[in-house]
């Protein structure tokens, strides 16, 4: 992995600070022009209205400046649309460790599937209930565990 790629991949999500933008699949590519050394980073938003995008762009530029690329360009693409299936296994493990239930796999035809059970990320119990389909950020829903009574966030399958 190039130094530029390494620097960008380490940028954490401003709203879920336990995972990086690479873990989440927000980071699509880091290209470095071999002749000029100019870096072009491509990212994609999780949700169209995600308010964290400006901070993510600024954090990427700051990380690249520190890695010796002060004139990097950050491009935002919307196609193909982000899917929670792009969250890496490492990312899923980090989310669970932080008490955020990772999303279920998405059906390929684009239909949001019915989630049969979401395990409590704290005690592992499948006895959970959805409190709200919309949570503290655009990408999460709010759940509660009926076994240990703890509320928890779940990344919505998208």
């Amino acid at each position: 992995m190039s130094r530029a790629r390494e620097a960008v991949a380490a940028v954490v999500d401003p709203e879920i600070r336990v995972v990086t933008i690479d873990d989440l699949g927000i980071l699509r590519s880091v290209l470095e022009d071999p002749a000029t050394g100019r870096v072009v980073v491509t990212i994609t938003p999780t949700y169209t209205g995600c308010p964290a995008m400006d901070v993510i762009r600024a954090d990427i530029r700051r990380a690249l400046a520190a890695a010796g690329h002060p004139d990097a360009e950050v491009r935002t693409v919307h196609s193909p649309a982000w899917s929670t299936d792009w969250i890496s296994d490492v990312g899923r493990a980090k989310l669970a460790a932080a008490g955020i239930a990772p999303p279920a796999p998405v059906r390929r035809d684009g239909v949001v599937p019915l989630t049969l059970t979401v395990r409590c990320p704290r005690c592992g119990s499948p006895e959970t209930e959805q409190l709200s389909r919309f949570g503290s950020t655009a990408c999460k829903a709010l759940w509660r565990c009926r076994s240990c009574s703890e509320p928890f966030d779940q990344v919505k399958a998208l």
């Binding site: 949700y47 209205g49 693409v77 919307h78 239909v111 949001v112 709200s132 389909r133 919309f134 998208l158």
Partner: protein, 241 residues
């Protein structure tokens, strides 16, 4: 002016005005979870509006960006449907509006995702997934209220009755557009009829069907909404956080 510009502007205005109206529920919804839900849905609409209006500005080629289009046009220049500018009313009216809007936007964005214009297709592919959540949310509430108590049933039916005339405008034929809204009507009817049936609600008779939003002829409610939405930008042009 190209038809792709006109469509991007109309759909962008739908999303923008819907976002502004939904955001009025912030801190005022009946419960905290609902407050967060409606604010999230408003944010999704705003996200779609930004993409569509930015693209409309590029297609127009007159140097107007998303902010110029959102903040520096007057009511007669807006192309949103009348449905989204109507006042929120009580919670049942808002849910009736959201049901109609989402049941229209889901097939609309799905069709847009397959249209030849790559930028519009990208917006469609992204926004349809978000709209599916909005539709689920509205349908859940309409069923819960419609099939709830006598009072909740009465108010949900009143909400549907009040909103229903405005649904027609969404499906006015636009044959040369990348997606002709008229083709979405059967999908919309299937979705809404099924939800209303499960909610023990009656599909209202179609009588008076107001329109004019796509031509810039709006209800007086839009002017008040714009006054609030635009005042800061107009008082402090180019202001930044």
């Amino acid at each position: 002016m190209s038809v792709n510009f006109a469509l991007a502007l109309a759909l962008g205005d739908d999303a923008l005005i819907a976002a502004q109206r939904l955001a009025e529920w912030s801190t005022r919804a009946p419960e905290m979870e609902e407050d967060i839900a409606l604010s999230n849905i408003a944010l999704d609409q705003l996200g779609a509006a930004r993409l569509l209006l930015s693209y409309a500005g590029e297609l127009e080629g007159a140097g107007r960006d998303e902010d110029a289009l959102a903040y520096l046009r007057d009511d007669r220049e807006f192309r949103n449907c009348l449905l989204v500018e109507l006042p929120n009313g009580d919670f049942a009216v808002t849910m009736a509006k959201l049901l109609v809007l989402a049941a229209y936007q889901v097939p609309l964005y799905t069709a847009l995702a397959g249209c030849p214009d790559e930028r519009l297709a990208a917006v469609g592919a992204k926004a349809r997934k978000e709209s599916a959540y909005h539709l689920d949310h509205a349908a859940l509430w309409v069923k819960r209220l419609g099939d709830g108590t006598e009072e909740s049933h009465r108010r949900m039916q009143a909400g549907v009755d009040q909103i229903w005339p405005y649904a027609d405008e969404l499906f006015a034929a636009w044959p040369d557009a990348p997606v002709d809204p008229a083709t979405l009507r059967p999908d919309f009817d299937d979705t809404v009829t099924a939800v209303l049936a499960e909610a023990t609600l009656t599909v209202p008779e179609v009588g008076w069907t107001p329109a004019g939003g796509r031509d810039g002829v709006h209800t007086e409610h839009l002017s008040y909404l714009l006054a609030e939405m635009q005042v800061l930008h107009r008082a402090h042009p180019g202001a930044r956080w």
